[in-house]
């Protein structure tokens, strides 16, 4: 982009990379559920959603490539764990169905808030893509909101498992709302609504309503940022995920596959 200054380019990369990585890791973990969800109909819906998420990540990676970063495939397959900027909680290995539904519902709300705010960007290649992405994300949110509600109101067991899933996820949510480094870049991009404090506020407001409506116990104070995935700080879970994901590619990095 000839008309982008160096600092604008840097700011856009700082904005887009964590979103791209969140979407990719969520899509990857989602694809691990293939043929393992509770029924065939859910399998069909969930695998569509996973493909959408991977596709959104691909859109963002291509945007990053146009801003001077390596190609989308290189970003996915040749980056060490320390180069990934996804939120840590998303790299958690899949557990039971209630855990996945809880994590995805909590994530989709944030994703919705984030995408809505992104529409305010002056960078048209971004807003063009986000507009399309939002049409799909609407259904993802609906899907997991329904799943969340059905588990909360289904049986004693499903409600219990949902509560346990939320309790496991909650303390590790901190960096989901965070950015890497200082938030000055958001000023440059004219996107103040994406500041961590704003995201937390909007997310908590919506979450409190859901928990109230479903009479779910509020899991406790919102955790701060202990480790920041946005700065490349990750658990062993991400290294393991990347080892599996790049296993075939590593046989011959340069050969076409």
């Amino acid at each position: 982009m000839a008309n982008l200054g160096e600092s604008e380019t840097r700011a856009l990369i700082q904005l887009i990379k964590p979103i791209a990585d969140d979407e990719w890791i969520v899509g990857h973990r989602g694809s691990e559920w293939l043929a393992l969800t509770p029924d065939l109909e859910e399998d069909l819906a969930f695998s569509s959603i996973s493909q959408d998420e991977l596709g959104h990540a691909q859109f963002y990676y291509e945007l990053l490539h146009s801003l001077g970063l390596p190609s989308a495939d290189e970003l996915v397959y040749l980056r060490p764990a320390s180069g990934w900027t996804n939120a840590q909680v998303l790299e958690t290995p899949n557990q039971d169905w209630a855990h996945t539904v809880a994590l995805r519902y909590l994530y989709e709300i944030l994703d919705d808030i984030r995408h809505e705010a992104l529409l305010g960007s002056w960078y048209q290649p971004l807003t063009d893509g986000v507009r399309k992405i939002r049409m799909e994300e609407k259904y993802h949110l609906q899907h997991f909101a329904t799943g969340f509600e059905l588990l909360a109101t289904g049986t004693e067991l499903s409600r219990q498992r949902l509560i346990e899933g939320i309790a496991d996820i909650w303390p590790r949510l901190g960096d989901l709302f965070a950015w890497g480094g200082s938030e000055e870049f958001l000023e440059k991009l004219g996107l103040p609504n994406l500041a961590q404090a704003q995201l937390r506020h909007s997310w908590t407001t919506r979450m409190e309503k859901t928990f109230h409506d479903l009479e779910l116990p509020w899991p406790g104070p919102m955790p701060g940022v202990n480790v920041n995935g946005r700065n490349g700080e990750h658990s062993q879970n991400l290294s393991k995920l990347l080892d599996v994901m790049t296993e075939v590619r590593q046989i011959d990095v340069n050969s076409p596959w």
Binding site: S31, A35, T37, P38, Y77, L150, G154, V248, R249, W257
Partner: protein
């Protein structure tokens, strides 16, 4: 009308090439053969998801990951559509989705021999699309003219999708064939593993009684051997043009009859594998289905409970 008279009229319809619909009267034998065929077909589609599913997290590029994910999703979609047909046919027996799926876990329904096999490399993921989906297109194409209309209609869509799968497999295979020595070796290894199971896939030359009755009812229209010959004829040039070899020293074509002569697969071994679920991966894959179906029954129960409650809450007060 008496049963024998009804059966006579039914057979007249079949022989005149008429198609049977789900609500038409049909002899119990016809219904049972259909249930057996479609149930096994549907379950094979679902069990066929597992060998490839393992490779989705490891697919070596974004494009391949998306394509393989979509392919596995299609297979599950086929399984779901076919099971719905089997559910319709099984209604007089009071059996639905839960029971038809339980049958897999209890070993009461078989699935294709190829899905009992290991898929240890990325090349296997490609070769499954290339050979197994290619083989499935051949067997399913003959079912397009099946006397049972709902099955024939559904197969039209399934075959169309299978041909995309075959092309996907072919694209993976081509990239490997044009790649490094390591990639070519991986491909040859996978072809060596899958050729013999594919010879078994079409079934014995001397067809069993059930298969023969299916021919008489025009549920299927070609013999096992006709299908196998078609497969060999199609794949010998495809595989050799990749610079790969076929692991059968007996393989040759009669110049006059054009019939292919081939080594007999180990009938006993593969038969036992399908009958007893004793293949190298049979139990591991059934365990995955158990994880999905049995171990998550609590989720389906919760969904049903919650939906019932929502419906009753929205009922107008009387």
């Amino acid at each position: 009308m008496e049963e024998t008279e009804r059966t006579r009229i039914f057979m007249e319809r079949i022989n005149a090439g008429e198609k049977i619909e789900a609500n038409d009267w049909m002899p119990a034998e016809y219904r049972n053969l259909l249930i057996k065929q479609i149930h096994m077909h549907g379950i094979s589609e679902i069990m066929g998801a597992y060998p490839e599913k393992e490779w989705v997290p490891k697919a070596p590029s974004i494009r391949r990951k998306l394509a393989l994910n979509a392919k596995v999703q299609d297979e599950i979609g086929h399984g779901q559509m076919l099971l719905r047909l089997a559910e319709d046919l099984s209604r007089p027996y009071g059996r639905g989705r839960e029971e038809l799926m339980d049958d897999v876990l209890d070993g009461r329904v078989k699935f294709h021999n190829v899905f009992h096999m290991e898929a240890p490399t990325w090349a296997d993921a490609g070769v499954i699309g290339f050979l197994v989906d290619g083989g499935a297109i051949i067997t399913q194409a003959m079912l397009l003219d099946s006397s049972y209309a709902p099955y024939a209609r559904m197969l039209k869509r399934i075959v169309a999708e299978e041909s995309f799968h075959m092309q996907h497999g072919e694209a993976v295979v081509l990239a490997l064939a044009e790649g490094s020595q390591a990639q070519r070796d991986m491909l040859q290894g996978a072809i060596n593993r899958w050729w013999e199971p594919m010879m078994f896939f079409f079934g014995p030359v001397q067809m069993g009684k059930g298969a023969q009755r299916m021919m008489e009812y025009k549920i299927r229209t070609k013999t096992n051997e006709e299908l196998r010959q078609k497969f060999i004829n199609r794949y010998v040039p495809r595989i050799t043009s990749l610079g790969m070899t076929i692991p059968d020293s007996e393989l040759r074509q009669d110049p006059d009859t054009k019939e292919w002569h081939y080594s007999q697969p180990d009938w006993e071994r593969y038969n036992a594998m399908v009958r007893l679920n004793s293949g190298p991966m049979s139990q591991a894959r059934i365990a995955m289905r158990r994880q999905a179906h049995e171990e998550q029954r609590w989720v389906r129960e919760a969904m049903n409970k919650a939906s019932e409650r929502q419906v009753s809450e929205h009922q107008p007060a009387i």
